[in-house]
Symmetry: D2
């Protein structure tokens, strides 16, 4: 029999849905010792929280996150709030001895993130950050190929995360729906929202980043603010690109924007090694592009691996070869790995401490964009 793990979720937006779906489905597909129980969801708007609870089967509702954190019947707190609340909630939850599953990015900045790490480490509570793209089977498979040494020495890494949803100057900033455009709630723009994903994956696949050199731009300088009703200066970065060097000697370029017409969620990365190269694209996330120079000459080519076979990471849990899974499954995989980590004693990553490294790169990027100089990642 499985052991219940009582979840208390704070926030009910887009990420509240993806996490709830993960908890609802993980035991249908993975054989696990623990089984999440949707104990409570917390949001300031009680009616909306209740509607969400009914839809997903949460047993109860809270409107004050402090009450949720204080509840005895909650084993794990899942933080799905805007970024500016991560630290306060996480530190309180750690003090209350709760496990914590925190939406990315870890924090508004390194200082906050460091406090969060110290809190969970002091409390000794399991903790993880939802950098879900590590668990796209194709991405996990890329990591396996790298770990097996199939790429050899790495020369290049390049990643972009391109969107186009903020091009209209009429779009306001702030409030529940658009907090990502409000620097006070989000901390930064594409750097914390999108590049953080790219950086987490990059560090996971290619190791630590040493130095960065960035530029940012805010194309629309002022937008109406939903909270004040006034036209206010936009404080976030609409676009950010940076050059960087990894500790392993490889060079990289990273770029993110919300002004790339035609791209909805074009997160792509490519790694060029001595022997082989890899490419991946979120728009067709079930495929991995692979080039192996060791193939005999005339047959050498990029191949498009349809990552749906039982031999591919996670895929034996789902359907049959040829049948693709989608976006939400990455969260199911992360939930499965987190629960598996509880049983095995080998915590699934990225832990807060691991996610702090991404935060350090983000801070260095924003600092470099201001100074126009190379900045070391400390």
């Amino acid at each position: 029999m499985t052991k219940p793990l009582n979840i208390g979720m704070i926030g009910y937006g887009f990420m509240g849905r993806t996490h709830s779906n993960a908890y609802a489905n993980v035991n249908h597909f993975f054989d696990l010792e623990h089984k999440p129980v949707l104990k409570a969801v917390c949001a300031r708007d009680e009616a909306k929280a209740k509607a969400f609870a009914e839809k997903w089967g949460y047993e109860s509702v809270e409107t004050d996150w402090k009450k949720l954190v204080a509840r005895k019947d909650i084993d794990a707190v899942d933080i799905c709030t805007p970024n500016n609340l991560h630290a306060e909630i996480a530190i309180a939850a750690a003090k209350a001895g709760k496990m914590i599953l925190c939406e990315k990015p870890l924090s508004m900045n390194v200082a906050e993130g460091l406090e969060m790490c110290q809190a969970v480490e002091k409390a000794g509570v399991p903790n993880i950050v939802w950098y879900n793209y590590r668990r796209v089977p194709a991405v996990t498979f890329a990591r396996q190929l790298i770990d097996e040494g199939k790429l050899g020495r790495i020369f290049h890494y390049r990643a972009v995360f391109l969107q186009d949803w903020t091009i209209s100057a009429d779009l306001p900033q702030g409030g529940t729906a658009l907090w990502r455009l409000d620097a006070a709630a989000a901390g930064s723009g594409v750097t914390g929202d999108l590049l953080a994903h790219c950086i987490d994956t990059a560090i996971w696949l290619n190791g630590s980043i040493s130095t960065v050199n960035a530029m940012t731009e805010t194309f629309v300088k002022e937008r109406k603010h939903n909270l004040t009703g006034r036209v206010e200066k936009v404080g976030i970065d609409d676009a950010c690109a940076f050059l960087c060097r990894f500790k392993n000697g490889s060079l990289a370029t990273f770029e993110s924007t919300r002004y790339a017409r035609g791209h909805k969620a074009l997160y792509t990365f490519e790694i060029n090694g001595e022997h082989a190269s890899i490419k991946w694209d979120l728009h067709d996330l079930h495929r991995l592009q692979w080039f192996d120079h060791r193939t005999p000459g005339p047959l050498r080519a990029w191949s498009s691996i349809h990552v749906t076979d039982g031999e591919h990471p996670y895929m034996s849990k789902w359907w049959v070869p040829g049948l693709q899974i989608g976006y939400e499954h990455t969260f199911v995989h992360q939930a499965a790995d987190f629960l598996e980590g509880l049983s095995s004693g080998q915590p699934a990553g990225p832990t807060f401490r691991e996610a702090l490294e991404t935060q350090k790169v983000c801070d260095a990027v924003l600092s470099s964009a201001k100074s126009g100089r190379w900045v070391e990642v400390l």
Copy 2:
């Protein structure tokens, strides 16, 4: 509040999982009057049935489908057995006044299928066949484009469903895992298994088929039979291709095989109309290829629509633009439409009667393959 709809599932194989997943998730994403309750699962092997019930949350287990059909607390019977049991179970369930959700193909042949239609129509029970590919958002969108007249007169339809899993002559036939290779359980080979999908979609998109001219082949003539332990003649078709003409005057080619090395589930179709053309491919099911001749000359081109926007069928229920869904979602959509049909009084298709048309084409195809002549679909 939602009304419970008590499901009794017969069979627990691959399709048992896809249907159970649909019932488990449909209310998380769709606003519906009814909510499926996993009341009972039935299978001859009690231990396996229990394990399945525990995994998916079925409240009880039966080992005799007749008992399940007789239970008062079951509203709807879901038939996931091998094809040779569909008719008997469906007719009994209809007599017991149950709604029926039957896995495809409807039946072993037209005669059986006709009896099934008469049974559900006499009983007046809601009925549907799980031709799930109609509910791939890209396929549903194709139907919308056709209904809007965007293609004009149709000249050509072509479809293939290619797999490669039976090439090894060492693969046995029959039994739980390999009943699809056993003519006694499956009725036919690729014709009923794969072409039935292609035909259902084709009829749905392009109307009725008038005449067919087919060839079939069984490449491996004998295989060890899992039930008898003896090497026995293979009775199914390994490959089948046919020419056909639709009632609307268009010409078509259909082909299916399990001997197309490199293809796992390559179901593709293409429609060429006077003004526009459409292509779709199950291996990237979230995309629709579209060509519109009315685009100004130098910009005319095939486009690859990433069917993930809120304006696309079903997609407003899922995530955000750019984030793809997968195979299993087609069953969630079918469950949603079935339940919606109960509320609206407009039954979702394909009903048994509609699915019978596909059966008629399958029978005509197999008959033509024997005679080597054009056969009319009656």
Copy 3:
């Protein structure tokens, strides 16, 4: 020093240009004993013939093909006329002892083709038919892979050649520009024009065809005739599809149409073997799609070979890896192989005799389309 080979070209249309370009360029890229000299071009319209001669550097002009064939200073006759003149010219040229390079298809039908074969064989003159697609490097490479046994036993072959240029009912038939729509000049429609290409490649790659079962359609039944000025019945096939069986036991489907909206010259073929599969597409003719089942499981995938390396057929003669060639180069390759064959005594194919096999399949296809029955290729 190279030996001059004096060319006399009959016809100056689209194929006149591709052949002239081949003669003009072949010695720039291939080291050959012979060098074509553009001695004379022949066409009924003297002004047009002169303009063509000046553009391409033909030394003289004829307006009567019989005079050209009779000229002592002509070594080789190149036939680029409509199909209905191939036989007469070829037989006369053979009698005059000329080498013959004849545009495809060989003839209007098997009877004519047989006479042509007998004529060139009796005269002992080198002869070839311009089935140029054999010399796309990717297609030649496919042949190499098959010859090396990399595919193993072949199960399936499928080919289409799709165009969309005759959908408008306002398009007339006949005359210089549109003789392909006039049965009197072309013999047949897509069967002789497009399927002949598919069949030639298929026989070259997969051996002889045993039996066929075809359907044809003429969507636009009447068109204005350019020669008579009257609306006349259309005698050609607008679309043709056929099932067939090869002598090696493999099954095939072939289809061609000029009513597939969005396709200009979509000639594609796919071969499925026991161990590997191949796909090719004229719209990206410098690529070959390749799947090898012997690749280790999780890395198995379709690869897209960019056929531009020095190790690929013909490509060492052109530029550097990564730089693609195009359509016209296939004619340069055929000219090179023809000239090489003169030196080596190993004639390049397809000779008239080899091309007659394609004619036999075309005749069987047209006969089957009439009878609705399987027809043996004799």
Copy 4:
């Protein structure tokens, strides 16, 4: 009748072949007043020069470029030497009153380039640099779309040029075949060789570049030198990436390397405008990717324009829709435009003066890579 234009070519390597091919073919496809005559080719190795002359039909051979430049019967000098000879030859040719067609990059650096500009401008001779990628029909078409305002305000430009041919540390540097790895002959590595192409296209499509911030790397620090026989320090950049800002306010990233395993000549660029976006890739140079936000919502998609129709730039000169051309045709187009410019008095670009702008960006990039700072392009 056409007027002869006597060409004297200096150098006979890869570019010597592409230019010779352009001269040999341009009048077959374009109606022009002038017709290039291959008067003389010059190279220090007389035997090789003679072989080249025979192959391509050059009437004579020189072994001293000064003699060629001095010849009265030469109208135009084509410079195909390593970069370090461009300036001296061009200045001498200008003084001799010759038209000059110079292979890219213009020069070793801005200082040299400026002298070259002054020389041709003082002499009043027609001059052009072979930045051939402007004349890929898809790229020219991109320019048309931009000129028509179809993209609106530009936000982003990104380009890469990736190769993998110098990964082996055993590859020597210098000499006839490998002068591109020798800083003394090439000036720089990928910056002048590959990024120069990207920059020329970018300026042509998106206007001037204001500031750049670059990094370079030399992965293999020492290589045997073919001229000295000794292992020597490598002076070129193996890889270079830079951030930049255009005068129109758009942001850009550029990257080039010869260490991207799997890429032979992967020159790609993408432009994101307010209304539409464009992508192009040299590996499939006959296609243009196009996204137009003004398309109705659910049909919005990236389309892959097969740039082979008569309405596309240059394509009416070649074959028929659907039939692709290749790499060498870009040089034919440039020759045609150069000759057309002689007749029209509207010189085809890029002239030396226009190409100097690319040189300025290259110099700024190399300077920034040294200083680690943003550098203004003067």
